[in-house]
């Protein structure tokens, strides 16, 4: 596990400029200096920032981190993440520094093939060349795993990688992150992480039908993998307007804050990535996110006396209030506050339905080890009942998101296994 205390000291030292002092001339391609501790440590931290392990480590093969083979779900089908250990035959051991950089920041494989954007190279493009080199330096030190992975699992015609030329023309914008001199150092650091290695938009930015970012709606929330990644802007209706800098940093570090708990894909992100970030970096991310303003079109709340709201209120009292309390306030850091939860306020009901139907395990971290779980109600509530109670929580306590349609429940019910 990441030793956060030590890493944080180290990262601060690096930020203070000690890195430049030990940067050697550019190595010849293929040369690996595994004793360059500063570079390796910096790379290890960047690999944490980038959450590389989320896709490249197979949880069923705990003894071979970064050995690949983990199926990454995309709206178009599954891709198997490749082996990025230094194994020369099945990993990236033979890649030159330039080839590694091309893959990470440009989506190009050494043989010229194009990567799919499940590899978030459109975000990694914002990283500096030095940071990419540090990542590689760290990956050179991990235990080589001999594990051949055939990534291509997409159906025709998506299996033709050349179509990515068109996609890149539409959506890929090269160029490193450009600091804004008019903004604070924290804002710039936060922007670099969010837009670069942290690739937050990969989940949280709405996508076109081709899976490209809708740039005008950056970080305004998107449905994927049966969850809705919430709006991270200051949108008063659906975003993080009520969250303070501290709330955001605490959530990223511990998986929990006074309002909410990270579950689903975000729980994995917290456990693998943001719980290992330094306190200054978490504060920087919060600073950057809090600066992102947006105002969505007003939605009409379902009237409190409508049949669906009355039914929802009755189900809520009967089934939910025991833990979440009558007023939705829950118990801070244990049972989410449905009034302050970003997932409940989201533009789409996906996460709420997911949690009601299939239950959810929240993140367990060193600071918040409890990892409380929501049980599955799929066996207990009909589609209409789930829709009613979801409508109730999404249109009470200040939320106004309209009624949840029953067919949405039916679709999600079929989409995954419940936990009971």
């Amino acid at each position: 596990m990441f030793d956060r205390g030590r890493t944080s000291l180290l990262a601060m030292a690096l930020l203070a400029g000690s890195f430049s002092a030990c940067t050697p001339a550019v190595y010849g391609d293929g040369y690996r200096d595994r004793q360059n501790v500063d570079l390796v440590e910096r790379g290890r931290y960047l690999v944490t920032l980038g959450d590389c392990t989320a896709c490249h480590s197979d949880p069923t093969r705990a003894d071979s981190p970064f050995g690949g083979g983990h199926a990454v779900p995309t709206p178009f089908g599954k891709l198997l993440a490749p082996n990025i250990t230094p194994d020369p035959q099945t990993g990236i051991g033979k890649w030159t520094a330039q080839q590694f950089d091309d893959a990470v920041r440009r989506g190009r494989m050494p043989d010229g093939r194009r990567l799919y954007p499940a590899m978030p190279y459109p975000y990694f493009a914002r990283m500096s060349a030095d940071d990419v080199r540090a990542m590689r330096a760290y990956l050179d030190t991990v235990t080589p795993v001999h594990h051949a992975v055939v990534s291509d699992q997409l159906p025709f015609p998506l299996s033709i990688r050349a179509i990515m030329m068109v996609w890149n023309w539409l959506y890929y914008r090269p160029g490193e992150w450009q600091p804004r001199p008019d903004r604070s150092a924290a804002w710039n650091r936060g922007g670099y992480i969010v837009e670069g290695p942290g690739h937050c938009g990969a989940c949280h930015t709405p996508k076109s039908f081709l899976g490209g970012d809708k740039r005008r709606h950056e970080l305004q929330g998107y449905s994927l993998q049966g969850w809705f990644a919430p709006d991270l802007t200051g949108d008063p209706a659906h975003g993080l307007a009520a969250w303070s800098l501290q709330d955001i940093a605490e959530y990223l570090e511990t998986g929990h804050n006074r309002f909410d708990a990270a579950s689903g894909p975000m729980a994995e992100e917290v456990e693998h990535s943001s719980s290992g970030m330094t306190a200054p970096d978490l504060a920087a991310i919060a600073t950057y996110l809090k600066s992102r303003e947006s105002v969505s079109k007003a939605q009409t709340a379902s009237p409190a006396n409508s049949p669906v709201m009355l039914a929802g209120a009755a189900i809520y009292r009967d089934v939910c209030a025991g833990c979440h309390k009558i007023d939705g306030s829950g118990i801070p850091y244990l049972i989410p506050d449905l009034a302050g939860s970003a997932a409940v306020a989201s533009r789409e009901a996906t996460s709420v339905l997911q949690v009601i139907l299939h239950g959810a395990a929240s993140a367990a971290t060193r600071e918040e080890p409890t990892g409380p779980q929501m049980p599955s109600y799929a066996w207990q509530l009909t589609d209409a009942q789930v829709a009613a109670v979801a409508t109730y929580v999404r249109n009470s306590w200040g939320h106004a998101t309209g009624a949840v349609p029953e067919p949405a429940v039916k679709r999600l019910r079929k989409s995954s296994q419940s936990r009971d």
């Binding site: 118990i331 080890p369 049980p375």
Partner: protein
């Protein structure tokens, strides 16, 4: 052929309260720990979520969370002259099974024993003379004192977030608490739970009679709590489904809600569930444990080598593993020799069900928690002069009604038909206005020469190992104690305004089919003399110094309280001795 696993520093048998506490303490000390649990892994949201945790038929009547007697059971007889028969459906007690053990389905009544309980024989002999004790009573001092255990009680209470009102804070008696308790170093971590109506009236009546009622110490939380390990619990919702049930909303202290979330994150901790340990392995000298042998769910036999073995299973299973592994001399009641199986005890429980005028009293008994209740301690231990009464021992008593669950909560006045329209009418009329405290009189059971455990000569388990045979009956001392306490208890309900009472005295013979509590104690007791105890004061085996046997099996006799607080305090006490002394110099911590 057993397959051999790689060596561990510590092998723990059973992952309930004591196993979890020891595992956490010893992994903190840097040791590699393997816990082996006979039952399944248990997790709040998937094993007893709030949307079906409160299923009385499933959990209470059909025993969902307990060991299935077809996996293993015990034989039972009252007298040594009888032939014991196997228990095929649990009755008097409920053997736990699975991760969390009894900590999953307990009521969370979290008591400390009295200072005099730990020096019982010395204390009673000094006060009343040796002749006052029955000749065949084998009570002993524990070898550890209340003062030594106090910091360890404290650790457990802060781990659990125990709710209560201190009665004796560093020697100062505080209003509203138990004035008889031993001095505690600091208050309970949380205030008492709010008491329901009948409990409040009981306390008023007790006060009128001159007693000093206080809220029962509770592991059902009165408010949200974060324990010293960083694990959080919520506030109890007073649903009234605690004992026999898992808590669905993280508000009852259990290994799952206090320790396991931290333990499972540790790289030096490993657990195997659904693996039954069949024996402790010894080296040829018989003085050193080399590890344990267990069988997994596929039937494969494994050997787990370890430097230290900790038996952390339920009382009888700890004793059984000692007997089956030939550790310590089996107890022979005729010769009064040997130590494994001696001083086996249970509890002496009785109840008073009271009926009040339904027009004046609506108690809503379903608003409750497992450890709710107002109690008095005037008749516990040696808190009163036993001289005139001709018995020793006692218990707390209280209106500790923990539920109004529909299948079991059907109190009807004596004389009501057992079924039919009149019975239904009586249930309807009395449901809201009767009190039924459950374990209202929670009396001690002291130890006797002819109450013990040994291996059954006839019946065997699925591995061909002899079952444990229980020989147990009530003695006149306990029956006298119970008559006296039950009468005092009834007087309080009388003062409370009951118009009719059903005094349900505990009677002999001991009934293996009638539930009392799951507080089986003794059988491998701690003490100061290897001739009369299996374990030294640190719960270390006198015979095999790298074996510790942790649980209520170590109680030389049972006190008039629920045992879990003391079991956990002993676990922390033993863990501290292992950490601070044994690891530095492995060997006997006490020279015999």
């Amino acid at each position: 052929m057993p397959r051999r696993l790689s060596h561990k520093d510590v092998a723990i048998v059973g992952l309930g309260w004591t196993g979890s506490i020891l595992a956490n303490e010893l992994t903190d000390a840097g040791l590699e720990v393997m816990a082996i649990e006979r039952g399944p892994w248990r997790n709040t949201a998937t094993d007893y979520p709030p949307n079906y945790a409160q299923d009385e038929l499933r959990y209470r009547i059909r025993h969902e969370l307990f060991l299935r007697p077809s996996q293993t059971t015990f034989t039972f007889r009252n007298k040594m002259s009888e032939t014991a028969l196997p228990i095929r459906n649990w009755g008097a007690f409920m053997p736990p099974n699975g991760v969390g053990g009894g900590g999953v389905h307990w009521n969370a009544e979290t008591w400390r024993f009295l200072p005099s309980d730990f020096v019982l024989r010395t204390h009673l002999t000094k006060r009343y003379g040796a002749h006052f004790l029955p000749a065949d009573m084998t009570i002993q001092d524990w070898g550890v004192t209340y003062a030594e255990l106090e910091p360890h009680y404290d650790r457990f209470e802060y781990l659990c977030g125990t709710c209560g009102q201190a009665g004796n804070l560093q020697g100062k008696i505080l209003e509203g608490g138990n004035p008889f308790e031993g001095p505690r170093s600091r208050p309970y971590p949380n205030p008492p739970q709010t008491q329901p109506f009948s409990h409040t009236l009981f306390a008023q009546a007790a006060r009128q009679l001159g007693y000093k009622p206080f809220p029962q110490p509770s592991g059902n939380l009165s408010q949200a709590y974060r324990n010293p390990l960083g694990v959080r619990q919520g506030q109890c919702s007073y649903c009234g489904f605690c004992e026999w049930f898992g808590c669905g909303n993280y508000s009852k202290a259990s290994p799952q809600t206090t320790i396991l979330p931290v333990l499972v994150r540790k790289p030096n901790f490993t657990a195997r569930d659904q693996c039954e340990v069949t024996r402790i392995n010894l080296d040829p000298s018989g003085r050193r444990a080399t590890g344990v042998t267990f069988v997994d769910a596929t039937g494969q036999e494994w050997e787990q080598p370890a430097d230290v073995v900790l038996l952390c299973a339920y009382t009888i299973f700890n004793v059984q593993l000692l007997l089956l592994s030939n550790i310590g001399q089996p107890y022979d009641p005729l010769a009064n020799r040997g130590v494994i199986g001696r001083n086996f005890t249970h509890q002496t429980i009785s109840d008073v069900v009271s009926f009040f005028d339904p027009k004046k009293f609506i108690f809503n008994p379903f608003i409750a928690s497992g450890a709710i209740g107002m109690c008095i301690d005037e008749f516990n231990g040696d808190n009163f002069d036993h001289g005139p009464h001709g018995f020793v021992g006692g218990g707390y008593m209280g209106q500790v009604q923990t539920n109004g669950r529909p299948i079991e909560t059907t109190p009807v006045p004596p004389g009501t038909p057992k079924w039919g329209t009149k019975w239904k009418q009586a249930v309807k009329e009395n449901y809201l206005s009767a009190t039924k405290p459950g374990t209202g009189v929670h009396g001690s059971m002291y130890s006797y020469r002819d109450v013990y455990l040994d291996l059954d000569p006839s019946y065997k388990d699925r591995f061909g190992r002899p079952l444990v045979r229980i020989t147990m009956d009530f003695h006149e001392n306990e029956l006298k104690q119970n008559r006296f306490l039950t009468d005092r208890f009834a007087e309080i309900f009388q003062a409370m305004g009951a118009r009719q009472m059903d005094k349900q005295y505990r009677r002999a013979p001991y009934d293996i089919a009638d539930y009392q509590t799951t507080h089986l104690c003794g059988g491998a007791i701690m003490g100061t003399d290897p001739k009369t105890s299996a374990l030294n004061r640190y719960l270390q085996s006198w015979d095999v110094p790298n074996l510790f046997v942790i649980g209520a099996n170590a109680f030389p006799q049972n006190a008039g309280y629920n045992p879990t607080g003391t079991v956990a305090a002993l676990a922390y006490w033993s863990a501290e001795a292992i950490r601070s002394r044994y690891l530095k110099s492995p060997g006997p911590l006490v020279q015999a």
